[in-house]
Amino acid sequence: MAATGNRKVDAAGIDAWRELFEAKPERGGELFSTLSGVENEPLYSPETVAVDYDRDLGFPGVFPFTRGVYPSMYRGRLWTMRQFAGFGTAAETNERFRYLLEHGQTGLSTAFDMPTLMGLDSDHARSEGEVGREGVAIDSLEDMRTLFAGIPLGDVSTSMTINSPAAMLLAFYVCVGEEQGVPRDRLRGTIQTDILKEYIAQKEYIFPPEPSMRLVTDMVEFTAREMPLWHPISVSGYHIREAGSTAAQELAFTLADGFTYVEWAVERGLDVDEFAPRLSFFFNAHLDFFEEIAKYRAARRIWATLMRDKYGAKDPRSWLMRFHTQTAGVSLTAQQPEVNLVRTALEAMAAVLGGTQSLHTNSFDEALALPTEHAVRLALRTQQVIAHETGVVNTIDPLGGSYYVEHLTNELERQAYEYFERIEKLGGVVAAIKENFFQREIAEASFRYQSEVEAKQRIIVGVNKYVLEDEQPIEILKVDAKLEQEQIERVQALRARRDTPTVEAALARLQDDAAHEDRNLIGPIIDASRAHVTMGEMCDALRHIWGTWRETPVF
């Protein structure tokens, strides 16, 4: 392989430098490896990094897309600044949405509360104390209508972070679109629907893996045919990383999940180019600056290569890995929380240098509670400063050709392929989930990291060094407990008001269709939504047919 620099490095020069370098002892205590434990040499040069420019890097918008998915990147259009928001009831969150749109945000992103994520209505016994706490509570079409009141769905793109009951929430959204006069083929947005990472990391699952995958595939099929502007899956590494994985695990497990969705859809009979252009990705931006940038670059290259060469995609749009990024929630500290502004800014910078298509920056108070409006505005301003004041947007992939970044890109790519092989040997992603493979790998990595922190081999400013005694508490957001009762009353009033026979008929049809594997469930779910069947009732109907999932806990 040709070295990237074209110019041969003088071997004597390297030896001379090494001698000088070794003459001075290195600092002790802190590790020099990346946050994920990848060993770092003190210096990289053309001698140590093998890159074939045309084969490995190429040009932005050109295979293998290492340097970016679009030819013009941020010269053409900045990334979408998309702050994730949701708390309390639909009305509260609608207000926050409008606030963000007024302050220059260009896309919406919805956080749902735990009961919604788990397919439980707000008045379910297990929802008590959790309604509206970590996101917005959505039980029915009625709540969805309130959530998007005054927001024209034909003009915004909306992201919804929901997985197990994704089909129901998409159905509500389609119905709200219809009511606003926006047909489904004009709706733009993304719904997460990444059930595999739920079993692996986020753990908000309802049904066993196989019927869950069938529902996901139903959605991929439905949107491919009826919602051409919609992204039916956002394959997510974010939660895998937050659960404690390394960067390489995040990269490998996410891509393996992505390929698994492709395999299921192809198995269903879809042509890969019919749906692959609408798959998108979601990554974490952690603190190890160069490792993160390398991760995004490696991700693009692997996806393009395997989609073309293994899955036979011919449409170049199927090769593109487009992704959203969120800064690392786990890197935020409850101690000296203002310092989180700095952490988030650095992480966001890595995401931008890595070529992200959209970005959420965390608010500095999020290790303590959901963010206040003030904290959210500062987080958005952070992105605006990067976009407009720092100049990093002026040149595409400005770190391309850096010996170190190219080395790390190669290294993460290598580790990802190694994981693909191990997963393959276990029988694929679903089989590996059942064997707790991912869960164990992640637990192992997070324990190693925690041990390094406790040994002060990793320093966290304000936590294990530079600690302040007597910290002053900051003002945090408190979700009004009253909202839970209001939401319970709202869903119960809806049940009393709607037409019971229509509801029962819709549920019976959904169950019947669920029992037949050859039927696509999205149509019946949209019909049930229109009949004001609640999300929890639809999930219950499916639980009845498919059963539920419980993992064997490992630690």
Partner: protein
């Protein structure tokens, strides 16, 4: 001092799936020589108390990051009392605002560990608080 190991149930009540902390704690307690039973996710207060009693636990460590701590933790304390198991030490870990932590301690929680707490401080606390 006898050779009896401290028995701890590490529990995840409620609906949130954030199990990173619970697993780290479970492993650290085990490495420190304790007998650890990890309940797994999405447990009801009833299930947690039942496990604590069945396992004859000295302590229950509740990991919660869903914001539902003021609903779920008092219920666990109540059920323990009702079952005559109020001697089981209850500790909580997670994102718990200071006023809530104070209130939970008033109700009988022995300690609340927030973000940034180290495993060694939790191990030390349990070793000091559980009479062996």
């Amino acid at each position: 001092m006898t050779n009896a190991k401290i028995r701890v149930v590490v529990a995840k009540p409620g609906l949130d799936g954030h199990d990173r902390g619970a697993k780290i704690i479970a492993r650290a307690l085990r490495d420190a020589g304790m007998e650890v039973i990890y309940t797994g996710l999405h447990q009801t207060p009833e299930q947690i108390v039942e496990t604590a009693i069945q396992e004859d636990a000295d302590a229950v460590g509740i990991s919660i990051l869903s914001g539902a701590h003021m609903t779920l933790v008092p219920r666990i304390l109540d059920l323990l009392r009702k079952d005559g198991a109020e001697d089981v030490l209850v500790v909580v870990g997670g994102t718990v605002p200071q006023d809530d932590a104070d209130e939970l301690k008033k109700q009988g929680v022995a300690a609340v560990f927030g973000p940034g707490a180290t495993t060694s401080e939790i191990v030390d606390f349990l070793k000091g608080a559980v009479p062996v």
